[in-house]
C-alpha cells in the first residue's frame, strides 16, 4: 500500500516534469496540445491513486488528507483545462495571435506549471513549498506575457513585480518560522519540515510566530489575490491566453491559499500565539466587498470574472478565518465549487472571445441567439457563480453564511451584502451579453463541450446531491483544520 502511494506521489511530480522536456521537442503544435492533455490525464489518474493508498511522508514530501483534496482537484482542473486548451490554441494560431514558436514554449510551460503546483501542494518542507510557488509564479508570468501586446507586457510586468514582492515577504515569513522553531527543534532540515513544526509548535516563541504569520499572510495573500494586494490579478487574467486565466483562477489561487492554511495550522497549534482567524476573516471580507463593488465597472469580460475570483477567494479565506468544523467545511466546498465553476466559465468565455473577436462586454450581445450553445453555457455559468439555488455554489455560500450567522450575525450580514452586490453586477452584465439582438460580427465557434460539461455537471451534482463519501471526507478535513 505504502509503496503504491509513493508511486502515485512520484508520478504526479515526474509525469509533468518529463512531459515538459518532451513537449519542448515536439514540433507540431496540434500533436503537442494532444500530448499535453494526455500527460495531464495521466497526472490526474496518478493523483487519484493517492486517494486510496496510505499516506506517504518524508522530510521533503508529505501527503495527508488535507492536501489530497487540493492535489486531486488541481490535477483534475489541469486536465480539463488542457483539453480546453487543445481546442483553443488552433484558433489563436489561425488568427496569428500566437505563432508555432510561441506554442513550443507554451506547452512545456503548462507542464512545468503543473509540476510546480504539485510540488507546492505535496511539499513537507516550507522552503521547498516556497520555491515551488515561486516557480509556478514565474511560469505564469511568462505565459501571461505570451501575446506580446503592450497590454500583455504590462500585465506580465505588474504581475511580476507584485508577485515578486509577495514572494519576498513570504520568504521572510518562512525564515521567521525557522527562527521560531530553531530553539525547540534544533538546526537543520527539521526546522523547516512541516510535520515536525506542527508537532512541536507549542514550544515555539509565540511573538516570532505572530510576526511570521503576518508576513506569510501578506506574502501568500498577494498570490491569493486578496485586496489590497490584488492589483495584478485582473490584468493577468485578462491579457493572457484564456486557458491560463482558467488555471490561475481555478488552481494557482488555491495553491497559495493552501500555503496560508498550512501556516495557519502551525499557529493554531500554539496556544500562546495570536489566533490567525480574525486576520484572515478581515482580509477575506474586505476583498469580498471590495471586489463585489468593482464588478459594476468592468467593461472587459475576462476582467469581470477575474474580479469575481477575488470576491470568491475573499469568501473562502473568510470562511477558513472563521474556523470551526462547519465554516471550514463550507470553505473547502466553496473552494472546490469555485475552482470548477470559474474555470468552466473561463472555458466558455475563451470560446466567446474567439467567436466574437473581442473581450469587450459592450460588443458582445445576444449570444443565446447567435451562438446558442455558448450563450446558454454562459448563462448557466454565471447563474452558478452568482450562487443560484440548484447549483453547488449556492450550497457552499449558504453554508458559509449560516455558519457565520450562528456566531456573528453582523459579519453574516456583511457577507450577504457583498454576495448580493456581486449577484446584481453579474446578472446585469449577463443580461446584455446573453439576451437581446445579437451584435454584429463573429464567426462560428468550435467549442469543446467536454470540459465545460464536466465542470458544470459536477457543480450541479454537488448542488443537488453531494456524494456522501465526499461529504464525509470534507467533514474529516474540516475537523483537521480546526
Amino acid at each position: 500500500m505504502t509503496l503504491g502511494a509513493f508511486d502515485g506521489l512520484s508520478a504526479i511530480l515526474v509525469i509533468p516534469a518529463v512531459s515538459a522536456l518532451f513537449l519542448a521537442i515536439v514540433p507540431d503544435y496540434r500533436i503537442a496540445s494532444l500530448l499535453n492533455a494526455l500527460a495531464s490525464l495521466f497526472t490526474f489518474a496518478a493523483a487519484c491513486t493517492l486517494l486510496g493508498a496510505g499516506r506517504p511522508t518524508g522530510p521533503y514530501f508529505h501527503v495527508d488528507d488535507l492536501n489530497v483534496v487540493f492535489i486531486v482537484l488541481n490535477t483534475f482542473v489541469a486536465f480539463t483545462t488542457s483539453v480546453f486548451s487543445a481546442s483553443y490554441v488552433p484558433h489563436e494560431v489561425e488568427t496569428g495571435k500566437l505563432t508555432r514558436y510561441n506554442l513550443r514554449f507554451y506547452h512545456p510551460m503548462y507542464q512545468i506549471l503543473a509540476f510546480a503546483m504539485n510540488v507546492a501542494l505535496s511539499a513537507n518542507n516550507i522552503g521547498l513549498m516556497w520555491v515551488a510557488i515561486e516557480l509556478a509564479t514565474l511560469t505564469t508570468v511568462a505565459m501571461v506575457g505570451i501575446y506580446r501586446t503592450p497590454e500583455a507586457i504590462e500585465a506580465a510586468w505588474k504581475y511580476f513585480m507584485l508577485g515578486s514582492v509577495g514572494i519576498a515577504l513570504a520568504l521572510f515569513g518562512t525564515i521567521l518560522v525557522y527562527m521560531a522553531a530553531r530553539p525547540a527543534v534544533g538546526e537543520g532540515l527539521d526546522g523547516m519540515t512541516w510535520t515536525i513544526l506542527i508537532a512541536r509548535s507549542p514550544e515555539f516563541d509565540p511573538a516570532l510566530l505572530n510576526l511570521a504569520f503576518v508576513f506569510l499572510m501578506l506574502g501568500y495573500g498577494t498570490k491569493v489575490g486578496l485586496a489590497p494586494l490584488h492589483a495584478w490579478l485582473p490584468d493577468a487574467h485578462a491579457e493572457g491566453p484564456t486557458p491560463i486565466s482558467a488555471v490561475l483562477s481555478g488552481l494557482l489561487l488555491n495553491v497559495a491559499l493552501y500555503a496560508v492554511l498550512r501556516f495557519k495550522l502551525i499557529l493554531d497549534a500554539n496556544a500562546r500565539a495570536i489566533s490567525p482567524g480574525p486576520l484572515m476573516a478581515t482580509l477575506g471580507l474586505v476583498s469580498l466587498i471590495f471586489a463585489a463593488f468593482m464588478l459594476y465597472r468592468r467593461r472587459d469580460i475576462k476582467r469581470l470574472f477575474a474580479f469575481s475570483s477575488i470576491e470568491h477567494m475573499g469568501l473562502i479565506v473568510f470562511a477558513f478565518g472563521m474556523g470551526g468544523p462547519l465554516a471550514n467545511f463550507a470553505g473547502l466546498l466553496h473552494m472546490t465549487m469555485h475552482s470548477l465553476t470559474k474555470s468552466g466559465i473561463f472555458f466558455v468565455v475563451g470560446h466567446i472571445a474567439q467567436a466574437k473577436g473581442t473581450q469587450r462586454i459592450s460588443e458582445i450581445r445576444g449570444l443565446t441567439v447567435s451562438h446558442p450553445w455558448l450563450g446558454w453555457a454562459l448563462v448557466i455559468g454565471v447563474f452558478a457563480i452568482a450562487g443560484m439555488p440548484p447549483l453547488g455554489v449556492f450550497m457552499s455560500e449558504f453554508l458559509v453564511v449560516s455558519s457565520t450567522f450562528a456566531r456573528s450575525p453582523v459579519l453574516a450580514v456583511l457577507v450577504v451584502f457583498g454576495l448580493l452586490v456581486a449577484f446584481g453586477a453579474l446578472l446585469l452584465r449577463l443580461q446584455g451579453m446573453a439576451f437581446g439582438a445579437p451584435s454584429e460580427g463573429g464567426g462560428p465557434s468550435r467549442a469543446s463541450v467536454l470540459p465545460v460539461g464536466a465542470h458544470f455537471g459536477l457543480v450541479l451534482l454537488a448542488g443537488l446531491y453531494p456524494p456522501p463519501p465526499l461529504v464525509l471526507w470534507f467533514q474529516h478535513v474540516a475537523a483537521m483544520l480546526k
Binding site: 514582492v165 530553531r182 469587450r360
Partner: protein, 220 residues
C-alpha cells in the same frame, strides 16, 4: 560568540542598511547601479563572515554568488542595457527625496522596534541581524514604491532581496539558503532579461513604469 565577530557582523549588516538609504536618494541611473553594486559587495562580505563565524562552508557559495553575480555581472548588464535602450539617465521620484528619507527612517525604526521586542528568545546576533535585514527589505519596498522607472524598480527589488539573503544567512543552520539564493539570482536574471526581451523599450517608448499605466484597468 566573541565580541569581535559580533561587532564585525553588526558593522556589515549596518552597512547594508546605510547603503539602502543611499539608494533612496540617487537621482541618476548609473550611480544607482553603482550604489547597488556596493551593497551587493557588502552583502557578500557579510555572508562570508557568517560562513566563517558559523563554520558553515555552504554559505561561502551564497557569498560568492553575491560577489560574482550581483556585484559584477548584473551591474554590467544593466549598464549595457541602459546604453543600448537609450533610457533616460535621470530617475524621477514620485515622492520627493526628503519625505522618502523620512519614510525610510520611520521604517527602520519600525523594524528595530518590532524585531528587538519580539525575538528575545533568539540569540542577540540573530535578533539584531533580523532587525537590519527587515530594514533592508522595507527600504527596498519603499524604493519600489517611490520610483517610476522600471530599471530602478528592478534595483529596488534586488536590494530587497539582499535583505532576505542577509536574514537567511543570519538564521543559524537554516537549510536551503544556497538554493534560495540561487533561485533569487535566476529570478533577477529573468527580470533583467525580461525588461530587455519583453522589449519594454519598444512597446512603451520609455522604461518608465508610469507609461505602463496608460492602459490601466478598463480604460480602453
Amino acid at each position: 560568540m566573541t565580541g569581535l565577530s559580533f561587532d564585525v557582523s553588526h558593522l556589515l549588516a549596518g552597512g547594508l542598511v546605510l547603503i539602502s538609504f543611499m539608494l533612496l536618494y540617487q537621482t541618476r541611473l548609473y550611480s544607482l547601479i553603482h550604489v547597488y553594486a556596493a551593497q551587493a559587495f557588502v552583502l557578500s562580505l557579510s555572508v562570508a563572515w557568517q560562513a566563517y563565524v558559523q563554520a558553515a562552508p555552504h554559505l561561502y557559495v551564497t557569498a560568492s554568488i553575491a560577489l560574482l553575480f550581483k556585484t559584477v555581472i548584473i551591474p554590467i548588464a544593466l549598464h549595457r542595457m541602459i546604453a543600448k535602450l537609450g533610457i533616460e539617465r535621470d530617475v524621477e521620484n514620485v515622492v520627493g527625496i526628503g519625505p522618502t528619507m523620512l519614510g525610510g527612517l520611520a521604517l527602520v525604526a519600525l523594524s528595530v522596534v518590532v524585531m528587538l521586542r519580539i525575538a528575545n528568545d533568539a540569540d542577540a546576533l540573530a535578533r539584531e541581524d533580523l532587525a537590519f535585514a527587515l530594514s533592508v527589505v522595507l527600504l527596498g519596498m519603499l524604493m519600489m514604491v517611490v520610483r517610476r522607472n522600471a530599471v530602478s524598480m528592478v534595483v529596488g527589488f534586488m536590494s530587497l532581496e539582499n535583505g532576505l539573503i542577509l536574514a537567511a544567512a543570519g538564521a543559524k543552520g537554516m537549510p536551503l539558503v544556497v538554493e534560495v539564493s540561487v533561485g533569487f539570482s535566476v529570478l533577477i536574471a529573468l527580470t533583467v532579461i525580461g525588461v530587455f526581451l519583453f522589449g519594454i523599450r519598444d512597446s512603451f517608448a520609455t522604461v518608465d513604469a508610469t507609461a505602463l499605466d496608460r492602459f490601466q484597468g478598463d480604460r480602453r
